[in-house]
Amino acid sequence: MTKQTELSAISINDLTVAYNEKPVLWDIDFHAPQGVLLAIVGPNGAGKSTLIKSILGLVKPAAGQILVFDNDYRPQSRLIGYVPQKNSVDWDFPTSVLDVVMMGCYGELGWFKRPSHKERELAINCLEKVGMKEFMNRQISQLSGGQQQRVFIARAFMQDAPIYLMDEPFAGVDAATEKSIIALLRELKDKGKTVICVHHDLQTLKEYFDWVMLLNVRRLALGPVNEVLTAQNLKKAYGGKAGFLAGMNTEEK
């Protein structure tokens, strides 16, 4: 096990998750330092989303330990802001952009209490940060894919947590939005927050992220992008399929 000089934002030991008795994650060790922009990368079915969901407690692990700032994590402690996969919800749901963002404070409000004027202002603020203020009264079905993603990110901002977990924030997003989202994530990182994203695109990995975890059911590598992104590691993760990708990445070095 690696030496931990400072407190990890998230630290996972021997995590195993199984769906229908088939391990999706097998004996994972994972330590995310604070204040990094970390990508979880791996082929389809590698368990990337499952890893995020287990950290949040949405999936019950078969074994293992998950610590957030060295404590057992319970969603009530509100240390993690979550951006689910965009297609996990019904975008035809009758609600407005502002309403969705306000959901970010529901956890903090607790049972029974309604969001007040203060929360509304806060939500508008968050929308402004992601450049969606003028859309605040739009019905959510009228948004483009990129706009939907920004709304979800604004909702996570509303949670104002020290750690953010994002499940494929760049899926189905146009290039311009991708750039502006990554700028937002950098801003979070500069404020000392830890941002962990499931990511697909190996080509933008180096440009966007400073840490990376390669995952394919088992953890294959974890560390700063430049150290981890070797041809050998990529081959381990993607097999022969990613030979050309590996070539490209080593070439850059």
Binding site: N13, T16, A18, E21, P23, D27, A62, A63, Q65, D92
Partner: protein, 370 residues
């Protein structure tokens, strides 16, 4: 001359088989509830056709009912295609309306005729033998038996000739379309069969039993086999048992026959649900428990293997590691160790746990497999 009892049981069994055949495909295509929708909506077709013919045994009733059955399917699909409503809501809107119009028409305009709204739901199987078919004054048995047999023959013929197409379009509609098999056409043909089956069974068993017989036996069969052809035969078998058992139950309690058949089909389904050899709930529990053990054994052996590589005397640490990191309780840990010793994955040398060659193989295997 058959006895009345035998005639009822024969009619019930034929109905059960006739329903089970299209039911298998409804289940596999995940449109089981279309049977509910169609079997209710056809009432409107029967009533409208009755208004035209003024004759309850006219074959036109079957035509009318089938047309309304298809209308239900296409109306539902039309609503879904507008994207104004989701599939479930569309189904839940169309058939109640058609059924309601049917019920209102029956109550308002056929008050003195022999259809009433309650019997629509549960049929009058007990009276079926008295409605006999005569040709040239020769008694050919209950009319219901002839009607349902015709429907059964139709179903068998269709499934026999289009087995390949049905199978392909059920499991891979995209491929079926690519190969030129018109999955849309097959879908409507199947829905037509469901409508014809429902209306043929309707008079004797009512709309609800049609649903029960179309869904429960195939669902049970689905838990017993992986092969489509087996599933068809098992469904038919379960249907016949439900029919005969249901008649027995109705006879014993002097209760409604269709309801009893539905109940028995439910009881059989519950039995299968719990006790099916591979996919039943109990079998699942056993398998799950075994997997848990297997997983625990793999974890332990893998850790011991790693310990072997790093440091020969690691046993103490492993046990406490399991407790701390894997969140195993001390009791569970010793249980797992005991189990592993029993299965000869590990041996105890004094206080030290040592992998056997067999255990080492297991550890390596689980490392490779995952």
């Amino acid at each position: 001359m058959l006895t009345t009892q035998f005639e009822i049981m024969l009619l019930a069994s034929l109905t059960a088989v006739t329903c089970a055949l299209p039911g298998v495909f409804l289940i596999l295509r995940r449109v089981a509830l279309m049977s509910d929708a169609i079997s209710h909506a056809i009432l409107l077709g029967i009533v409208l056709a009755f208004f035209i013919t003024k004759n309850l045994s006219s074959p036109l009733l079957i035509v009318g009912a089938t047309l309304v059955g298809i209308l239900t399917v296409s109306l539902t699909e039309l609503i879904i295609r507008t994207h104004k409503l989701k599939k479930d809501a569309a189904i839940g809107l169309v058939f109640p309306l058609l059924f309601s119009i049917g019920v209102v028409l029956i109550n308002k305009y056929t008050g003195d005729v022999h259809i009433d709204a309650d019997c629509v739901l549960f049929g009058e199987l007990a009276f079926a033998p008295f409605n006999r078919l005569y040709i040239n004054d020769i008694d050919l048995g209950p009319q219901g038996i002839w009607v349902i047999s015709a429907a059964l023959m139709l179903n068998i013929t269709f499934i026999f000739f289009f087995y390949k197409e049905l199978k392909l379009s059920t499991f891979d509609a995209g491929l079926a379309a690519a190969l030129g098999f018109f999955p849309g056409l097959i879908h409507y043909a199947l829905m037509t069969l469901v409508s014809i089956t429902a209306v043929s069974a309707f008079e004797s068993v009512g709309s609800i039993l049609v649903v029960a017989l179309m869904i429960a036996p195939p669902a049970g069969a689905y838990l017993l086999t992986n092969r489509l052809s087996h599933m068809i035969f098992i469904s038919a078998g379960i249907g016949i048992i439900s029919a005969i058992g249901g008649y027995g139950m109705a006879y014993a309690f002097n209760a409604n026959i269709a309801g009893s058949m539905a109940t028995i089909s439910g009881v059989i389904f519950i039995l299968i649900l719990f006790f099916a050899p591979e996919r039943g709930i109990l079998a699942n529990m056993v398998v799950r428990k075994w997997h848990k053990w297997d997983f625990a054994a793999s974890t332990l052996t893998v850790h011991l293997l790693q310990a072997e590589i790093e440091d020969a005397d690691y046993t103490e640490h492993i046990v406490s590691h399991m407790i701390r990191h894997m969140k195993w309780t001390p009791e569970y840990t010793s249980e797992v160790i005991a189990q592993c010793i029993q299965e000869e994955f590990i041996e105890k040398h004094g206080s030290k746990l040592v992998l056997t060659p067999y255990g080492r193989e297991k550890a390596n295997l689980s490392l490779v497999k995952n």
